[in-house]
Every structure is written in structure tokens, then in C-alpha cells.
């Protein structure tokens, strides 16, 4: 399955990866050969086979909608983990 450089650039943007030209070249080759290998799955007849999304069989594991509050020390550490913050808020570049 040969990918074009344009397709690889598009995927990289979707994935928010800013790749250099040499990387685009390298990944185009590697991804193409990996996807080639995966093509063999097309030969398998999966008519009527249910997809497996998870193996536990659990469904709708719920908890009460109650606030389990965080202690101040942990809260401070969490905010301080952010590269940029102001008071109790994580700061980012403008979204719009």
C-alpha cells in the first residue's frame, strides 16, 4: 500500500506532528511497507464476525455523580505541572 508524501503530510498534521522533510520521506517508506504487510488481512473472511472492542465483557461500570474533592496540595502540584499557569488556571495560547 504505497502512501504518497501528500498523504503522509496530511496524517502528520492530523496527528499534530510537525515533521521535517527527511522524516516525511522516511515515514512514507516505512509506513508503506507496514501497510503492505497489513494488507494480508483483506484475504480473511470476516463475514458475520463481531468485532472485539474489549475482552472483559463489562458494561456500564458506573459510580455516583458525587464530587470527590482534591486536596489543596495535590491541586497546587497539578497546576504547577503545567508549563504556563496563572493563579489556579492552566494558561494556553489562544484557541481561536
Amino acid at each position: 500500500m504505497a502512501l504518497t508524501k501528500e498523504e503522509v503530510k496530511h496524517i502528520a498534521l492530523l496527528a499534530r506532528l510537525g515533521l521535517k522533510d527527511e522524516e516525511i520521506e522516511e515515514y512514507t517508506n516505512q509506513l508503506s511497507s507496514i501497510l503492505d504487510y497489513i494488507e494480508q488481512l483483506k484475504e480473511v473472511n470476516t463475514d458475520g464476525v463481531e468485532p472485539t472492542a474489549q475482552v472483559t465483557g463489562l458494561e456500564n461500570v458506573m459510580r455516583e455523580d458525587e464530587i470527590d474533592s482534591c486536596d489543596n496540595e495535590t491541586k497546587d502540584k497539578l497546576i504547577k505541572s503545567a508549563p504556563d499557569s496563572e493563579d489556579d488556571l492552566v494558561k494556553t495560547k489562544s484557541v481561536f
Binding site: 496527528a15 499534530r16 510537525g18 507496514i34 504487510y37 472485539t52 472483559t56 503545567a82 508549563p83 495560547k93
Partner: protein, 482 residues
């Protein structure tokens, strides 16, 4: 024997009899790290102060009735450890200090365990050799020019060279079993959902399992008893009882049915590895097991399915590393460039590769052809095992087609690297449990035997492993590192 060379069981006996203290035991491990780790490079962070504090607390409390009290361990760096740097072996978390402990770590802390450091691995657990760490390569203690295996490269190397007594790790496609095999130690991949994943950096959320590497099966049983169980913070942990694994392993294996899948003994695999595993199987037969030939027909499709499912889930899980809430953040003029620069400058090549495969496979127009198709193949692989387990109790295979390869041998060919996981991946897709025990040597390099069991039947695979181990000496052999 130096204290750091003891097993959990033997160390606990010594601590209870007051032959030595936890501080002495811990210092022995720390000394070994100082002496050896320049060559092996298993550790990303050594936590000497934390370890000695924990050891002192264990000694002060003076109660060693719990076998893990005061015992030095070193978890894989994808485990969040409170106030101790946790990098996931990635540059993107180079400066990350979690404000909380993973549940499995908390359980060890509750019994006064001693953490001597955080060990190296493939970046975010993505790899099969240890060569994808964002920091440095770890070396196999049996041959420093060879890989220890991956992704639990540091865990396997540290346990095999007695720098710690055991190590918590993760196994998503073979990451505990394969390095345990390459380094001649015991490695346990639990059933999906047996151990809480809370606080462990996620790789592929429908496949990730939390397990451990230890010096023998008895030790593995002890650790499992501590970390297994339902956790309300991980809603994929079913409410299944935790067996008394230490007792279960002592039972014999007379009449136990052992399945040998023909698809795992293929042409082209290392002849001596095949012979080593066959000899192990003969040993099991001598101990009363009944060997049954079985077939797992979708084995050869499993790797292809895995290398769609895994990268797809990886691409989703890696999205959180965006330079906003934690970790490294690159300077940029706008938000998009923050993302583009932070992620491409600080993720390694393998992580980027998997993110790209996953993004492609999940993108509009391709989801059905790739991810959904792979999920259906996953059902077929799972059915193979379920059907086989109607007739056998465990399935036994080689852990890897070859012993440890040289550093650099496979790293330029990602596909070749993926194919080395061929024996461990199918069990991961099925969510079943698997144990690696040392089964011999080929040219001085360890060869592992993989014992696969039904979901939540860790007792049986541990029992088989223990019986085999007690009838052999492989697990007692240590590498001679100069």
C-alpha cells in the same frame, strides 16, 4: 551470597529472623546499581534517599509478616510515582513529577515496600528491544552487546543483574514476557483487567496489562497476590476473586492437559530454541502432564491485526502529550505550532511511527477497512484460544523465535522488529494470561518458555511454571558481568 542476590522469599525470611535489616538489603541493591549500572544502564532515576527512608520505616515498624515489606523494587518508568520523576522513557515528560501514585505502586507502599529507582524502557512502552527509549539503550546482562528485550528492558536487566529484587512492568504485546525470556528470569503477563492500570501511562487501552518481572515463580506469585484485584479507579477491572497464588503453585500438574500449537513451531525458527522448548515440554510430560497437539489457525494474522489495533489506540493515548498540562512545552507563536513543535521535537521515531499508522487507520474512509477489520480478526484470534482451552488447561510455546539479538540488528527495520513479537502478541489480543520461565540456554543466551492460561487462571500457569522450575536449575543461573 550478597543480600541483593536474594529472592523475595529468602529476603523476607532473613528480615523476619533479623539476620539483616531492610536498610542493609536496600544498601546492597544500591551498591550493585552504583557498581553495575554504568555498563547495564537499566535506571533512568535512582531514588537512594526515598529508598533509604522507606527501608528505615520498614525496619522501624519491625513487622515483616508481609513478604513484600522492606523489599527493594524498581518499577518501569511508565508508572506514576508520587513526587518522583516519571518520564515514560520519553523526552516529552523529561521534567514530569506526578502528584500521585499508580494504584499498584500504592499497594506496594502500603506494605512498606522500598523503591530504589525507576527503570528504563522503550518510550511509552512502544518497542520490543529497549532501543526506543528516549534516553539510552539498556544492555542485556548476559551479553552487553545484546538487547535485554522490550519494552521492559530496564526491568529485566535490573532483576537479572540483582540491582533490585523485582520490578513492576507492563505487557501490551509481549513487553514483560519477551525481555524476561531474553534475560533468563520470570515474567508474568496477567489477564487483561486482573491488575489496575490506574496511574500507569497508557499505551493501548484495550491491550495494556500491569505485571511484573521476578527471579522465580514463587516471587511472581507473591507480587501478584499484592497487586491483583478490582480497583474503582480502573473500571476495566472485573470483580474477580484473587487466588492465594502462593498456595496454588505448590499443587502438582499430574493429568494437566498442555496444548502445543503447531503454528508456534514453524520452519525458519531457531532450531536450538525449538529443541530447548521441546526438552521443556518433555520435562512437563515426565511430571505427569498430558501433551495435546492443538491448532490456533489465526496465529499468523494476529501480528497484522495487532499492528493496526495497537497503533490506533496509541495514536489516541499519545494525544494528551501536547505541552499544555504537563511535561515539556516548546516555545511557539500560536497553539498549533506549540503542538507541532512540542510533539515532533520530543517524541521518538517509533512513537511517531505508531501515531501515524494509527491516525491513518482511524481516519475517515479507512476506519472500516483497517481498525474494524482488525477488531474482527481479533475475535477470530480470541476464538482460537477459547476453543483450544475447552480441551487443554494451558498452552505452551516458545516465548521468542530467537534469543536476544544484537543492539542495532533490527532497529533499522521496524517491520522485522514487529515480527519478533509473533509468539507473544496473539495472547495479548485474546486478553489471556501468560508466564515466561527460563528454559535453557543457546550459545550462552537465555531461552524462555511461555505458558499461556485462561483468563483469570493465573494460578494454573504459575503452578505449571513453579513445577517446571523446581525440576530444573535454569532460574538459579546468574549472568557474569565484568
Amino acid at each position: 551470597m550478597n543480600l541483593n542476590e536474594l529472592t523475595i522469599k529468602k529476603a523476607n525470611e532473613g528480615l523476619q529472623k533479623k539476620d539483616f535489616s531492610s536498610v542493609e538489603l536496600t544498601k546492597a541493591c544500591l551498591d550493585k546499581i552504583k557498581k553495575m549500572d554504568d555498563k547495564i544502564k537499566a535506571f533512568i532515576t535512582v531514588t537512594e534517599d526515598v529508598a533509604l527512608k522507606q527501608a528505615e520505616a520498614a525496619d522501624k515498624a519491625g513487622d515483616f509478616s508481609d513478604p513484600l515489606t522492606g523489599i527493594p523494587h524498581a518499577p518501569k518508568d511508565v508508572f506514576c510515582t508520587k513526587d518522583v520523576r516519571s518520564t515514560g522513557a520519553s523526552k516529552i515528560l523529561d521534567n514530569y513529577v506526578p502528584p500521585f501514585d499508580a494504584t499498584s505502586i500504592e499497594k506496594l507502599n502500603q506494605v512498606n515496600g522500598v523503591m530504589v529507582g525507576k527503570v528504563n524502557c522503550d518510550e511509552f512502552a512502544q518497542g520490543g528491544s529497549g532501543e526506543n527509549s528516549g534516553y539510552f539503550n539498556t544492555h542485556n546482562p548476559w551479553d552487553l552487546e545484546r538487547v535485554p528485550g522490550g519494552s521492559c528492558s530496564g526491568s529485566a536487566a535490573a532483576v537479572a543483574s540483582d540491582m533490585c529484587i523485582y520490578s513492576l512492568g507492563t505487557d501490551t504485546g509481549g513487553s514483560i514476557r519477551q525481555p524476561a525470556g531474553f534475560c533468563g528470569i520470570t515474567g508474568l503477563k496477567v489477564t487483561y483487567g486482573r491488575v489496575s492500570r490506574y496511574g500507569v501511562m497508557a499505551m493501548a487501552s484495550s491491550l495494556d496489562t500491569i505485571g511484573h518481572l521476578a527471579k522465580n515463580v514463587e516471587d511472581a506469585a507473591i507480587v501478584l497476590k499484592h497487586i491483583a484485584g478490582k480497583d474503582k479507579k480502573d473500571s476495566t477491572t472485573p470483580d474477580k476473586p484473587v487466588d492465594d497464588y502462593e498456595k496454588e503453585i505448590l499443587k502438582d500438574i499430574k493429568g494437566l492437559k498442555v496444548g502445543l500449537p503447531k503454528e508456534y513451531f514453524i520452519e525458519g525458527m531457531d532450531k536450538e530454541v525449538k529443541e530447548t522448548v521441546n526438552a521443556a515440554v518433555k520435562k512437563l510430560e515426565k511430571m505427569g502432564a498430558e501433551i495435546v497437539d492443538i491448532s490456533l489457525p489465526y496465529t499468523d494474522k494476529a501480528i497484522a491485526a495487532y499492528y493496526i489495533i495497537c497503533p490506533s489506540e496509541v495514536s489516541s493515548n499519545m494525544a494528551r502529550y501536547d505541552g499544555i498540562r504537563y511535561g515539556v512545552s516548546e516555545e511557539a507563536d500560536n497553539l498549533l505550532d506549540t503542538y507541532l513543535k512540542t510533539r515532533s521535537n520530543n517524541f521518538g521515531a517509533e512513537v511517531k511511527r505508531r501515531i501515524m499508522i494509527g491516525t491513518y487507520a482511524l481516519s475517515a474512509g479507512y476506519y472500516d477497512a483497517y481498525y474494524k477489520k482488525a477488531m474482527k480478526i481479533r475475535t477470530l484470534v480470541r476464538n482460537d484460544f477459547d476453543k483450544a482451552f475447552e480441551n487443554v488447561d494451558v498452552i505452551v510455546t516458545p516465548t521468542s523465535p530467537t534469543p536476544a539479538f544484537k543492539i542495532g540488528e533490527n532497529s533499522s527495520d521496524p517491520l522485522k522488529m514487529y515480527l519478533a513479537d509473533v509468539f507473544t502478541v496473539p495472547a495479548s489480543l485474546a486478553g489471556i494470561c501468560g508466564l515466561n520461565v527460563p528454559a535453557g540456554f543457546v550459545d550462552g543466551l537465555p531461552v524462555g518458555l511461555q505458558i499461556l492460561g485462561k483468563r483469570f487462571d493465573e494460578s494454573t500457569i504459575l503452578k505449571v511454571g513453579y513445577n517446571y522450575e523446581q525440576a530444573t536449575e535454569w532460574h538459579k543461573k546468574k549472568p557474569e558481568i565484568d
